[in-house]
Symmetry: C2
Subunit: 280 residues, 2 copies
DNA sequence: CGCGCCTTTGAAGGAGCTCAATTTAGGTGG
DNA sequence: CCACCTAAATTGAGCTCCTTCAAAGGCGCG
């Protein structure tokens, strides 16, 4: 297990701070916007941003690659891009050039209907890949918005295809990443199509918990970066319904909720919510 | 309305016969189970089953490939497999070896919850690819069931990856197929998460219509292959709700419904249903 | 031609939505 | 550092859309 289980401390800025510390990146927010590329390959900090040195590589595209293969990936993943909270990494209609791996922070992706209705299609965390929707055409088909100040690795898609023709393990891993997105989407459909409100929220919380754990953070206590409205959009519910379900869980002693700060008190209780249900 | 294009997948009955005629395959159902492989490469009918001769190639994996490249794909796509109505092409848990291109007929894919709840994740028509969910792991994660007697081309995945390392256009097309599935899934999420019953059904019908048209059939009149229950599962509705919505559309003169036989009378009226709506 | 499955239709109930008011948190400027 | 301000979250009450339960009708297949 590459990621030693450690308990993350969640202050106001929570995860973000810890991750930055882990990567050896300056934690001081005041310096955050300094151009890091300018000093690339000079300081130890910046050496660390290469895939081969990245702590996220087991969660990301380099997974399963031999050391010398990761080195080749390093050549490809040159540029990085910072996106401020509420900033958009890409929008529906933007021409598709690259996919992105999240280094720090988190995102939501959504599609908009003409009348303004929004459907959040996913929340993405560090190590996860953004932009796969763009491959099918010339343009992106959804919006990717940062939920907090974030940074992504830009992976030019043409070069990724090129390299994956040469590096079999990269090809395989990339295909797995795409397929995993399809499987995940099917899970969301199951959730939206056949679960009731509380089941949906339980499934959401358990999913978040698991993903935090995979990143070395506490599975029991974490900060949600998205609003109730965004959770609701993702789960096919109104924000009031989400809020009520949170309150109900709290009343039942399943979780402790303080705004965006969540503590799971009875994980088995949450899991049972997913099995016992009567609809359909 | 571009969105409709991405939502669903389906099929009908008159279609099956038509398709068979189009492929130059004997339409007589009585002969359908004769072993076609036995006479492969002998009759003109069977020559047609190669990708290079297949009428579906513009809808399928060979799209965008040069003639000599399609020839290489022919080598790979050797075996075909017949699946009888209600038969399963693969099940959740089956080991993943190959993906499948539908030659004739149609399928549904679904995931099951422990308590028996089913979520239909898609309906697939000729030329569409099945099995992409299996790439992410060792096993398939959903079930693929034939909605009618059907036939698929078996594409061994290891060999597809191999060939796509050599043939750039194949690699690109395969990636597009995967990405298109992701985009389609996002459309379904939109549908399930933010639309009301009648909008969902309208989106479904428009999507079906469009896909029939893409296959050279009437966009206005077709046979649905799936039951109300399956439509309902796909749309996140109960079968009674689907039935009621069909009846309402008929009362309003939008469509003519006779069991599974659908005739669209007012396509613009259906499209307007998707825009004007008050929820969310 | 009869049986089973699918579909349709009705009536009643409920889960989640809408609308609205209040509380809380976080950011800003004095 | 505090008061203010805005965005987010909570909570309540009434209503709506969809579900549930039930029964009858129709189609296709053996």
């Amino acid at each position: 297990m590459e990621f030693v289980a450690k308990i993350a401390k969640f202050d106001a800025k929570g995860v973000d701070v810890d991750q930055r510390a882990e990567y050896g990146i300056d934690t001081d927010r005041g310096t955050e916007n300094l151009d890091m590329k300018a000093s690339f390959a000079i300081t130890p900090q910046n050496l660390k941003v290469a895939c081969s040195q990245c702590n996220l590589r087991e969660l990301c595209l380099p997974f399963g690659l031999a050391a010398h293969e990761v080195d080749r990936l390093d050549e490809l993943v040159g540029a990085r891009r910072k996106v401020k909270r509420q900033g958009q990494l890409y929008r529906a209609g933007d021409s598709f050039e690259a996919i992105y791996a999240i280094r720090t922070g988190s995102f939501k992706t959504d599609v908009l209907l003409e009348d303004g209705r929004e459907q959040v299609t996913g929340f993405q965390m560090t190590g996860e890949i953004l932009g796969l929707d763009g491959i099918s055409g010339e343009n992106h088909s959804c919006n990717a918005t940062a939920l907090e100040d974030s940074e992504v690795c830009v992976i030019p898609f043409a070069r990724l295809e090129e390299l994956s023709r040469e590096v079999e393990s990269l090809q395989r891993q990339f295909h797995k990443v795409m397929s995993r997105e399809i499987v995940r989407d099917h899970g969301v459909m199951m959730l939206l199509g056949s679960m009731r409100a509380e089941e949906r929220l339980a499934a959401f919380l358990l999913n978040m918990s698991q993903r935090f754990m995979a990143r070395g953070f506490s599975a029991a206590e974490f900060h949600l970066r998205m609003t109730r409205d965004e959770i609701g959009s993702y789960l096919g519910l109104k924000l009031e319904t989400v809020s009520r379900a949170f309150s109900k869980f709290q009343d039942e002693g399943l979780v402790s909720v303080q705004q965006k700060h969540i503590r799971i008190l009875d994980i088995d209780g949450l899991k049972q919510l997913l099995v016992r249900c009567t609809r359909n």
